[in-house]
């Protein structure tokens, strides 16, 4: 399914050619749902800043950002795509640095800008290589030409790195964990839910254009998926700042999407259309699902942070009693992101698992090992994500308040913020219980992406298990209702009494002896401490008598610490050396520009 739209445009090599097809449909749905919900949310969220900050500027850039996102997905021409891509990056920069009075926010925004442009540089290279081979700047026309195996490989690698920076593949993800906590919550939601999917969209579009790829490409994407997924969730386990933790979970889910895409590519190169459609379809459905539940989580985090004025999980606690609606919606988001049944995360993970098991059975040795590794990695990611979100939900919403900021009185959360979260939560439940609609759209997109004809395939192979799952889940809900009724009957006439939590005889229990986020995750983090660069200082008992002890534990991002920071430091020192010959007066710069323009004019006139 594809529709075209064209307008005359004066830009050289560019044409205002738009195309909507089954592939871009999934991304467009994610964009529209999340941009709309986050926008409505922002009305309530930004109310406290009205009058104190330039809101009009923020709204302007938000609209520009949304337009840019839509044009990135619809663009059918290299120049239009790159123009929309740049507009997306720059407008999101201005959205991220809303709180620019904080130096950490300014640094995060600058890192985001640098990373984005490093990626875009590679994209320029890649697109011009493709356009040169295809003889045109139009995506459709380029896709009709054939690429040599070597050129396809080079283009693929450039796409992985260039779009991977935006998507958040490890190791080029380092801007993500800084940008998300810095941005206001509704912007984090759109960044995480939609903008990083634009990286995935770019990779999908390049895969669509290239058509046939060498065999090793599928393995590369599979490995990237495995590494990003497992490392992302391991880093998330060590975090104690709410939005940074959610940012690392986005990296994990991008890993799952890359896993699905890798499986699809393996299916393509081994000529197994079922694997292809299951892999690509599962990945596209996960794109939509992740944008919905990640948006829900970030909006919920924003509601919590707005009231407690801190993002530190260990300062919160017992918020479920004070914000009941937000806590239930956050729970829906948490259950969805762990991929647990009843909600949408399970459906897309099931499709990818199903494809991986099929690949395990039917692919030759190396492919079977790859699929086995993918299954193991997905299982590990699921259980680690469960641990992480049990930690987050338990520490933030349950238990007793851990600090005064969780106890001080505050007003009700604005309805402007609650209603979009309700919409997203309802969508999670709907796709989880009735996935047929969205799943078939995702498979259409997957078929389009791989140039496979879906009518020749029997999609019942996945829809029949999905319908069994739905009946099983309805039975599960009925069981829960039945057991609830049975408990009512057992407790008939008896009124349960309410006491303090059983403390094994402790009379002076305080909120501080509860498990914190780092103590909960400690067992897992210490198992992989060399990978996470886990450091623990202090905390030893030295003296005979009780005294104050200080304990700090931290984990560091290895890619940032060992690769990018040294690289940036090297580049900065290099550019400082070149700075000796700097010009002191601005007027000198202007004179040089003027002279250069004259030179160009004289040259052109010849």
């Amino acid at each position: 399914m594809e529709r075209f739209f064209q307008l005359p445009w004066q830009v050289p090599f560019g044409e205002f050619s738009l195309k909507i097809d089954s592939l871009s449909l999934m991304f467009l749905m994610a964009i529209f749902i999340l941009v709309f919900c986050a926008g409505v949310y922002a009305v309530g969220y930004m109310r406290e800043y009205q009058g104190r900050r330039p809101m009009g500027l923020h709204i302007f850039f938000y609209i520009l950002f949304s337009l840019a996102l839509v044009f990135v997905v619809l663009a059918n021409n290299v120049i239009l795509f790159l123009g929309a891509w740049e507009m997306m990056s720059i407008s999101s920069y201005f959205l991220i640095v809303f709180h620019d009075e904080k130096p950490s926010v300014r640094r995060a925004g600058f890192l985001f800008l640098v990373a984005s442009h490093c990626g875009t540089f590679l994209l320029f290279l890649m697109f011009f290589l493709m356009a040169h081979n295809g003889g045109s700047m139009n995506f459709d026309l380029i896709s009709h030409t054939s690429f040599s195996s070597g050129l396809a490989g080079v283009v693929f690698l450039l796409a992985i790195i260039g779009f991977g920076v935006k998507a958040g593949f490890i190791p080029v993800h380092i801007w993500l964990p800084h940008a998300h906590p810095a941005a206001p919550s509704h912007i984090s939601a759109v960044l995480s839910g939609v903008m990083i999917k634009m990286g995935i969209y770019g990779i999908c579009r390049v895969l669509w254009i290239l058509g046939v790829l060498p065999d090793w490409c599928g393995y590369v994407l599979l490995m990237i998926g495995v590494v990003s997924g497992v490392m992302g969730v391991l880093y998330a386990l060590g975090q104690h700042e709410l939005k940074k933790l959610l940012a690392y979970h986005s990296i994990e889910n991008i890993g799952i999407i890359a896993l699905g895409l890798g499986l699809g590519l393996l299916g393509e190169s081994h000529h197994m259309p079922y694997l292809t459609v299951l892999g690509f379809g599962g990945a596209l459905l996960h794109v939509l699902n992740h944008s919905i539940f990640k948006g829900l989580l970030f909006l919920g985090a924003g509601a919590v942070i707005q009231k407690t004025h801190t993002g530190e999980i260990d300062q919160m606690g017992g918020l479920a009693k004070r914000m009941p609606v937000v806590s239930i919606l956050f729970l829906i988001g948490a259950v969805s992101i762990c991929g647990l049944p009843l909600f949408n995360g399970f459906i897309s993970e099931f499709i990818i698992y199903f494809g991986l098991f099929k690949g395990l059975a039917s692919l030759p040795l190396l492919g079977a090992f790859g699929c086995g590794l993918g299954i193991i990695a997905l299982g590990l990611m699921g259980s680690l994500a469960l641990a992480c979100f049990a930690k987050v939900y338990g520490t933030v919403f349950l238990g007793q308040p851990r600090s005064p900021s969780a106890v001080e009185p505050w007003g009700k959360t604005s309805s402007w913020m609650i209603v979009p979260m309700l919409v997203l939560g309802a969508l999670c439940l709907w796709i989880g219980l009735f996935p047929r609609r969205m799943a078939s759209l995702a498979f259409l997109g997957g078929g389009y992406l791989s140039h496979t004809d879906l009518s020749s395939l029997n999609m019942g192979i996945i829809f029949i298990p999905l319908s069994f799952i739905i009946s099983a889940l309805i039975l599960f809900i009925a069981l829960m209702v039945g057991l609830f009724g049975m408990r009512r009957i057992f407790l008939k006439g008896l009124i349960p009494s309410v006491r303090e939590t059983w403390g094994c005889g402790f009379s002076q229990s305080s909120a501080r002896i509860q498990y914190t986020s780092s103590s909960f995750a400690r067992l897992i983090v210490e198992l992989v401490k060399s990978v996470l660069l886990f450091k623990r200082e202090g905390g030893e008992v030295r003296d005979l008598f009780p005294a104050k002890i200080k304990l700090t534990s931290s984990i560091q991002d290895a890619s940032e610490k060992f690769f990018f920071r040294p690289l940036f430091d090297r580049l900065t020192s290099l550019s400082k050396k070149l700075d000796i010959h700097s010009i002191r007066y601005t007027q000198m710069y202007l004179m040089y520009i003027f002279l250069y323009l004259i030179f160009l004019l004289v040259w052109k006139m010849k």
Binding site: A368, L494, E500
Partner: protein
């Protein structure tokens, strides 16, 4: 349709009556090793009856999550019981990919148990929750590894077919791989159901508990549901292992039922013997044991791939 409903009811009847009996047999075996007469095999039934008649006490700190967790837990294991064959009764819920639903429904139950434990705001339950979250990561790793090997052996991804419900698993062809899978799966049974050497179901010291300490604050009907769910989960896990080992199919349903019951009796005695002869491992050694389970499962996978 009526066939399915009959199978569902038969499954629930068998599971609800035999699961506490399974736990009773384990206790009897442990008592025998200790030279005691021990409680009757039917003691778990009396315990459940007592609990269902009692009133509940709820903590002030808890929310609806605490009250909902036992229901989610019991509903999940009841759903899971429909996915395995019990003797001559085929699983009423089987489809390609149902192992994923099985594993993830258990994860859903586990998630609610963990957050219900954190809901009490007590460090005891937090301890149990943290340990449970960690050990389940390693258990699921071993479980998935086993499922990969079994799916390669049986060429399907439906739990009933993988454990040899319809066609016997060919032990003479792929014996070594299946042996490794069975060994690894036995360790997973011990870990997932909180048996020695991973956890001690009898002690009530927070330093040595994982599952028991998570349900420390539940009382009355809630505690009854939690204990029942734990017993059914153990029964189901053993019910997955028994058909793998005893891959015999007589045509006669009564003989099949006797074989199944005999196998379950043997499994309960095996668990009881392991619990009586071993001590609980030091907590930082438990992860080594679970990683051994993962390694054994991995070797099973390698052996299967080697044999082709």
């Amino acid at each position: 349709m009526m066939n399915i409903i009959f199978l569902i009811l038969a499954h629930w009847l068998i599971v609800l009556t035999l699961a506490p009996l399974f736990v009773g047999v384990i206790t009897k075996v442990k008592a025998f090793f200790a030279g005691k007469k021990g409680p009757s095999v039917f003691q778990p039934f009396f315990d459940l009856q007592r609990l269902f008649q009692k009133n509940s006490v709820y903590s002030r700190t808890t929310t609806w999550v605490f009250r909902g967790a036992p229901i989610v837990n019991l509903a999940a294991v009841l759903l899971l019981s429909l996915m395995i064959p019990l003797g001559p009764f085929k699983a009423p819920l089987q489809f390609s990919g149902d192992i994923l639903l099985a594993v993830y429904i258990l994860s859903l139950a586990r998630f609610f148990m963990i957050i219900a434990a954190l809901d009490t705001g007590s460090s005891f339950e937090g301890m149990g929750a943290s340990r449970e979250a960690f050990f389940s990561c390693l258990c699921e790793l071993a479980l998935f590894m086993n499922f990969i090997t079994l799916s390669l052996v049986s060429h399907s991804i439906s739990l009933s077919t993988m454990i040899g419900a319809d066609t016997s698993l060919s032990w003479n062809l792929i014996g070594p791989a299946l042996l490794l899978v069975a060994g690894s799966f036995f360790l997973v049974i011990l870990a997932e159901n909180n048996r020695i050497p991973i956890d001690d179901p009898d002690t009530h010291l927070e330093l040595t508990m994982i599952h028991e300490v998570m349900i420390l604050d539940h009382s009355g009907v809630d505690l009854g549901f939690m204990l029942y769910a734990a017993a059914i989960k153990l029964f189901i896990f053993a019910g997955i292992l028994v058909p793998i080992i005893l891959s015999i199919h007589a045509g006669n349903p009564i003989v099949d039922m006797l074989i199944f019951l005999g196998g379950m009796l043997g499994a309960s005695m095996a668990v009881g013997i392991v619990e009586s002869t071993m001590a609980r491992l030091k907590l930082n050694r438990v992860k080594n044991l679970l990683l051994i389970a993962v390694a054994v499962a991995f070797f099973g996978f390698v052996v299967k791939m080697w044999k082709g």
